[in-house]
Subunit: 382 residues, 4 copies
């Protein structure tokens, strides 16, 4: 760990002495003070050597005269892409593989509203060869006076119908640890007719107790949605809570950031971070274009913004796409108009396949023109 | 509820028909379509009359051709400042009154690190006549590898020492509903030597399950910290979860927003919202200058930024001020340098009192120069 | 124009009377007050009819009791996509067509640093069949102590070499109206060996005097770069300054927004707005991936983030791509490492062509599966 | 200058060699490579020694393997508060002193709309003993179709009336360098009846050509308004353009930042930066509460938000307060309702004086309780 002092702090000053004194209170830590003379000023640094892994950064950061604290160690210990680990590491759940090399479309119901619409939705998915979906039973809402989802009451028929139509994985948000138990029980009662990927919503992105809870079980994988008002770094650290609790089967999902700079979309679409997450971690990356855009807009080329931003994720290597759909929007009491229609769903699937193929062609073109990849850490990283 | 159609949607268009059809599916709701002719264009609106309280807004917002949905009803049903309710409504807890008319300083330990520092802290507070404080036992941290607080282990001595030094209320963050039970048990074991105000941290600002949990008990009041990346409106709606669950004893705390526009402060100080929260709700308003500023900076006038922004809250009517302090920062392993020292604490208290008096003088000056207040809703609101 | 009153303002209240009085002071404007009774409250609106085009919105917006002012008229009068104008309207400059249907790559020098590098750059472009580029002579810099570009001194050789290598259009930033004259003079002196597209940088996005200056001449088209800290709506309004001054030959360029939510990229990439600008206006849309990303990062698939975000623009219909390149980065004193190398340039071109083709295939797929486009305004807009 | 390499870059790697090679191309620069061994990884740095003042930072920042570039030199060369310069440096203009120790109220017309309102405004100001004001002749507007101000046409009567009522300084926005000439001419024609402080608006905060233009003259001081979407650091650097061009008579004005996190205020009030600017620079600091809040809101204590946020600036040492007022808002076609009324103006003045006195009392209290100030750089800075 390196403590960089402010430019105006001299080598022998009290501020430097204080840093050294504090550092010396940690067992097994040695310090070394270095100074560098510039043309008009000098810069001083205190180096902490030895067992610095458990030395906290904050006490130094907050000291008078300290400019910055640099920790010389790997970030994202559990989920990060470290040297010598260039190979992707995914997982297989209920027969479906998720990794940085796979690609899945997960259209489905934002909120379960009736057995009929679940049946119709799954039937359409089956007819189009889709076995991964989403279905919301527990719905966190901004206002306590809005519909909060049917909860565990709907689980039996959702799972039964999933089994009937060959759905293997359902992404389903949980907002309390008890929901995990309810889901596991209902799955068992259904004879494990299907599988569930526990979704952590953006409002719970730093609900560390919930993250630890889904991390401490290993039966179900987790779809983690990035926090809408925190940095990417903070969201990745939050994922570390899941992984460090024992569950490494995580999919990281981008869903847009909360700032009016993204208007007229509901959120500022952040799918430019698809390659970033793929580089910084070994997690498969998902995008949620429906919640990012939030409304249906059609361009002069006939393409909806929801498909357009989905394509932006896929052309850069996204491994999964969530999308709201509804078998009969006119009868849905909620989210109907935002949902894709069955005939649009087929177009959505073909469009995404077209773009996925273009992405794979891009990777091949790169290999052909620029040669084999340098070993990671060679050319760059970031 | 009023559905405002986009400017290019004609009275007889399909889009309007769809809105009407959807509206008619809600029981007890009548619709009325109105159009207004401008010079060059026209505007159409669909009015929903009758039992619209349970009609959701989203299905309409997401429809093609809909510009905006206006709900004609009061906001913040439980915590809001509504007509005929101009009088402030506070609460008394453990002998201390909290309302929009009271003023309390709550300096204390960000994190409990030892019995000794708790003892020394409370002793200093007693010597300065302070009986409200903060003390962190459960600490949510960005990284799972950082110190997470001593949890329930430290509660017995914290409460015992609080009793010894006459501390009446301790603000203490909880990150899981089980912490409420632990705190209640420890309080009882201490012979109710003191009182605890449950603090909801910014990372859990939309952890609705936790909000409902602290709302469903009424033994302990709640200090709700605003979410750092969501709008004020969303944070106030989150408070509605607490209040609508049954617990109206809430203090709303501002602590800065997460955006680099606030650099070099850790957060963008948002204490300009003190008068806004006081106007929109009946909740007492607290400010946390330590976490807003995040570091000690001293100005050319000798005043630290932490005191300066605290003064900004108080000069506009803030009802409480949290502040990190430590009896011996040089021995603290965490947050030491950010904390106020004992001799600074006395200055902090006198400074805040000076500013509080200036605020009260401002209110009196206004009354003298501009006369009695118009009844709310008369002159304005917001 | 419609003045929507706050929910608590009654029909006969003073606030409504004030709105009516103010409105009546505008000639040719009639008012009509309407109220709607909800279940528990009522809502009142004042409609301004007649010659409201010149009635300002602010005086009403700022009145006590006013919730919102809605203007019933088309936005973006000059550049907008209005009904009956669904056909794209582009322009031809120096033999090159720019429209929402064309596609151009514009790699080039961020800053002109020597005749040699300009010569080498243009030679490479010619060898790859590129005749559109960028070259910076006037460089606005955050600090006055940084290199500010060679200005008009370099124009003669830049234009001469452009002519030699068949470059037809050079995007070149101007920061003062006098630069337009300097460029026109130098172009003439070169025998109009090439053409220049005047670039308005993000720091001047609301420098209305400069916008009017480039709008009042019609010899040179304009590449307008979106403001980095204002909404899209405000940037489009700024374009109206150019167009309403007489020059409709505008290309709108996205280049990322300034917020730390986009970290680790220099800016938050905003190419999700490509379809938005194409829908709201008739302007061709350009993307600048080099300044959006700001640094070279290579993903596990070997693709650089700069190419990845460029692909995100192109897969959704972007009409042009700016990109920094340098013939010999090792010898460049500025921006070298960020620039593409000649061998990378060819890969960049092939990659962009691959993605452009995928976009065209997407449009064709949509037509085949969902049928011909509804006339604009039919299905939707935005 | 210090080039900090990424954690995974080894001492002998190609990346380090490239940095050294590039550095060696600058004359008079020597390099030194240092590495530090942590427990599990190592960190390498390249130190540039000698004549590094003109070595640009970007080429290194953009290199593969570079983590960060630290320049060891003073920031804000011209306006900054450097060691040994702890004394404030202000200026006197037209008999009025502006410094970090003075305090001025500058209520006035946002936009000049008629001779009558100017006359009435100045008359009120004189009656209340105010000789500093604001008056807008050149108005930049988001849309080109809105009122743009009367420009130079109104200058003669504005200056004549200022002379009549003893107004010494008028803050007046300029959006083009020609306006400076027009103002100087009109001042001369009026027999220098008053003085003008050139205001740079937030939209021109990085219009460097305009900044240089107002910096190259020294007749008139400058009121620089912070950019609404850039960091404080960037705005201070922009001020360096003015100062480094020759004009050090600058007042720095805070006016709120553009982000919806500040809702319901028009802008996110940033007056927490008052002490920051006072610490980082020697410039007097002004606040503009009218444009920050943007609308009139009255709290339950009868105080308007505009006065409340103004008080937040003043309680922390702000040296000036701009405020919109109008002698007869009911007759104003623009901004009337936002403006203070004459009777409110007196209350505004008394309120601000009360708060200014409280600030001075705070400084005295601090001196009394904590002793004389440590020499700058001693205790801290930031």
């Amino acid at each position: 760990m390196i403590i960089v002092m402010r430019g105006d702090v001299a080598l022998g000053s009290e501020a430097v002495q204080e840093v050294v004194r504090l550092a010396s209170r940690y067992e097994g830590v040695e310090t070394q003070v270095r100074t560098i003379e510039g043309a008009t000023r000098s810069l001083t640094e205190v180096y902490l050597l030895g067992s610095t892994a458990t030395v906290p950064r904050e006490p130094f950061e907050e000291m008078v005269g300290v400019e910055r604290v640099i920790r010389v160690r790997a970030k994202y210990r559990a989920i990060g892409r470290h040297e010598g680990e260039a190979m992707e590491v995914g997982f297989v759940y209920n027969g479906i593989k998720f990794s940085q090399d796979t690609f899945h479309l997960m259209p489905g119901l934002c909120a379960v509203d009736s057995r009929e619409s679940v049946d119709a939705t799954f039937r359409v998915l089956k007819s189009l060869g889709i076995s991964t979906t989403r279905a919301g039973a527990y719905k966190p809402r901004t206002s306590p006076y809005d519909f909060q989802g049917y909860g565990k009451v709907c689980l039996p028929y959702v799972f039964e119908l999933a089994g009937k139509y060959g759905i293997s994985v359902i992404a389903m948000e949980v907002t309390h640890e008890s929901h995990v138990r309810e889901i596991l029980d209902a799955l068992e009662a259904s004879g494990n007719a299907t599988g569930v990927m526990l979704q952590i919503g953006t409002r719970n992105a730093q609900n560390f107790e919930l993250l630890k809870a889904v991390g401490q079980q290993s039966r179900l994988p987790v779809l983690y949605k990035r926090g809408m008002g925190i940095t990417l770094d903070e969201s990745l650290n939050a994922c570390e809570y899941i992984a460090s609790s024992g569950n490494h089967r995580i999919v990281f999902c981008l869903r847009g950031m909360k700032t009016n700079l993204g208007d007229p979309h509901r959120n500022f679409v952040d799918f430019s971070h698809v390659p970033v997450v793929r580089r910084l971690t070994r997690l498969p990356v998902c995008v949620d274009p429906s919640h990012a855009v939030g409304k249906r807009f059609v361009g002069p080329d006939g393409l909806e913004d929801i498909l357009q931003v989905a394509a932006q994720g896929v052309i850069t290597g996204a491994n999964a796409v969530l999308a709201d759909m509804h078998p009969s929007p006119a009868e849905a009491l909620c989210d109907g108009p935002q949902a894709l229609l069955p005939n649009e769903l087929e177009h959505f699937i073909r469009d995404m396949e077209l773009v996925r193929k273009a992405y794979l062609d891009r990777v091949e073109l790169r290999r052909r023109m620029l040669g084999a990849l340098a070993p990671l850490g060679g050319r760059a990283s970031g």
